[in-house]
């Protein structure tokens, strides 16, 4: 009997120790995981397979709580965890908009109301546009742009333009001034904190193409897709679903399905992330020609498909198969025509075999 009790006690103690270890582990690691989950990213509105999604995350639990309390006050909580068919989502749009306006008129913070309204507007626009196969728009809060002038040391141009956390273009020691003319056209002037940027100065802007720097943001352009074909402008390929460049001052664009969305996104405080068509990028003027920080991967010129030899792996996977023949394998990507193929991102051994003509 005693022996049985002793055995029982030992088992109980072992269980306690085990539970202690498990709890210690959870206490040690859960807050990190929690915090990571809620690091600030803003909200993403996505459309895929005609379904609208929204997803928001924040930099701290406090901020999340604060945000959620505002969401509840505005009575639009369902919007922030939505996953609905575009048509049924459209039926909810007016309700969300009315709720936000009621919240505003009842004394809700203007900035928050503007932000909620922008999210709802963008989501409704996405739902309404039948030509969009898939798109993701990342929308952050307007925090930094004040009086059209920003001074920044070592921050992202994306941040500066629209207060975004875009990390495609880095800048340092810059003064960026937003100028709006009488017609409402926005231009951006960038000055070096050491003096005006000129050719003799050190480089200031770094594109996301590793190791390539540009000295001057000359302007922005856009690209227009129609039925999967590039019909104008320049294409800045989204390089993944987390980081993206920005839409600042929009240059001459063809009328297109996304122009309507641009109208809504042009307001300060918007981060945009398109799956299929991105719009603008930093550029510089070289010998009278606009050179973009990062060349697009595929362009159509004179009815011909041109594939950039510097095609990068991420954007290769996003190439539109309607434009070019593309085959992705576990080994790499093959882009091609009838007798011609471009092979990229193959393992080195495989590349060597290809070069030797073994395969």
């Amino acid at each position: 009997m005693r022996v049985e009790n002793r055995t029982k006690n030992r088992a109980t103690n072992a269980t306690k120790i085990f539970m202690f270890i498990v709890f210690a582990f959870l206490i040690a690691f859960l807050p990190n995981a929690w915090a990571k989950k809620y690091s600030f990213e803003g909200c993403e509105i996505s459309k895929s397979a005609n379904t609208i999604y929204s997803d928001c995350s924040f930099e701290s639990i406090e901020m999340t709580k604060g945000f959620l309390s505002r969401v509840n006050e505005a009575k639009i909580a369902t919007f922030f965890n939505i996953q609905r068919d575009a048509n049924s989502f459209l039926e909810l749009c007016d309700g969300y908009k009315n709720s936000i306006e009621e919240y505003r008129s009842s004394g809700g913070p203007e900035t928050i109301c503007n932000y909620f309204r922008r999210l709802v507007d963008v989501a409704c626009e996405l739902a309404e546009q039948t030509g969009i196969e898939s798109a993701t728009l990342k929308i952050g809060l307007d925090r930094q742009v004040k009086e059209g002038k920003i001074v920044c040391k070592n921050c992202y141009v994306g941040d500066l333009i629209d207060n975004r956390d875009a990390s495609d273009i880095q800048a340092k020691n810059l003064e960026i001034i937003f100028l709006t003319d009488e017609e409402g056209k926005t231009s951006i002037q960038i000055n070096s904190l050491k003096g005006l940027v000129n050719d003799e100065d050190e480089v200031y802007i770094k594109s996301f193409e590793v190791g390539r720097w540009i000295k001057w943001i000359w302007g922005f352009e856009c690209v227009t897709y129609n039925q999967g074909r590039v019909i104008g402008g320049f294409n800045l390929n989204c390089w993944d679903n987390q980081k993206f460049s920005s839409i600042g001052s929009v240059g001459p664009c063809e009328k297109s399905w996304w122009e309507k969305i641009l109208e809504k996104l042009k307001k300060p405080g918007t981060t945009n992330l398109f799956d299929h068509s991105c719009s603008i990028q930093a550029a510089k003027l070289v010998n009278g020609e606009i050179k973009f920080a990062r060349e697009p991967d595929v362009i159509r010129r004179g009815g011909k498909t041109l594939v950039n030899a510097r095609l990068d792996s991420e954007s290769a996977l996003n190439l539109d198969e309607k434009i070019i023949k593309i085959k992705t394998t576990n080994e790499g990507v093959i882009v091609g025509g009838i007798n011609t193929v471009i092979v990229a991102f193959f393992h080195r051994n495989k590349l060597q075999e290809i070069l030797k003509g073994v395969v």
Partner: protein
């Protein structure tokens, strides 16, 4: 007395017989030696065929090597290397560096001279010509010796491989790529490849700023694919 006379005659006959045999043997050996120092038609043909076969093999191997290196046996200064593979640049800083027909011929000639030992005799000249969709080698004034006997002859060899067809396609590809660099015009190169009945594989190596072009017409050399490779830079 009669006995002595008979014995003397016998001795004389023996001497004469030995002399006749010796002269006969000598004549036989001399005739054999003379025969050895002369080239028979059959022997001459065997030597010629041996050299021709060897040159044909050398031509094939030389063209296979040249194809891999963009038409060069001795790579020029403007050449690229990747994973141990080497090939010549055909386009660098917008400058066309495509080898001429004469360059290819000289490179192939140097290969045959340095890398093969087909001709064990002295010769006056060895030239390679690329013409009529064939690659030809002409060796003139081969002097084969056999003792004091020698005969001088020429050997021609050829293979049905046309390196100039790859050069023709390369020129069109380079022209197209130079106009669109850093882009590759898929339709443009595709149309050219179809026109030349060849396949083109393009391997961009962005980290090195190189783009490798591999041209294949399906020809094989000793069961190995003949791949003509050249490199262009990426702007």
């Amino acid at each position: 007395m009669q006995k002595i006379k008979t014995r003397g005659q016998l001795f004389l006959y023996i001497i004469i017989a030995i002399l006749i045999i010796a002269v006969g043997l000598l004549a036989y050996f001399i005739s054999q030696e003379v025969k050895k120092a002369r080239w028979s038609e059959e022997e001459m043909q065997t030597v010629k065929n041996g050299i021709r076969d060897c040159l044909e093999k050398g031509l094939k191997e030389g063209i296979w090597l040249l194809a891999r290196q963009g038409g060069y046996y001795e790579l020029p200064a403007e050449s690229a290397e990747f994973l141990g593979e080497r090939a010549a640049f055909y386009l660098k800083q917008e400058k066309s560096l495509i080898p001429t027909k004469r360059t290819l011929e000289l490179q192939l000639r140097n290969y045959l001279k340095n890398e093969t030992s087909c001709i064990a005799y002295s010769y006056e000249s060895l030239e390679v010509y690329l013409r009529n969709n064939r690659s030809e080698v002409e060796v003139r004034g081969i002097k084969a010796s056999k003792g004091k006997a020698a005969f001088v002859f020429d050997v021609d060899a050829d293979v049905a491989i046309d390196p100039l067809s790859y050069i023709a396609l390369s020129e069109e590809i380079v022209q197209s790529y130079n106009a669109t660099n850093p882009y590759v015009c898929i339709e443009c190169i595709d149309m050219t490849a179809i026109k030349h009945a060849m396949n083109v594989t393009i391997v961009p190596i962005a980290e090195k700023g190189q783009i490798w072009f591999l041209l294949a017409s399906g020809q094989k050399v000793d069961n190995k694919n003949l791949i003509w490779r050249f490199v262009a830079d990426i702007k």
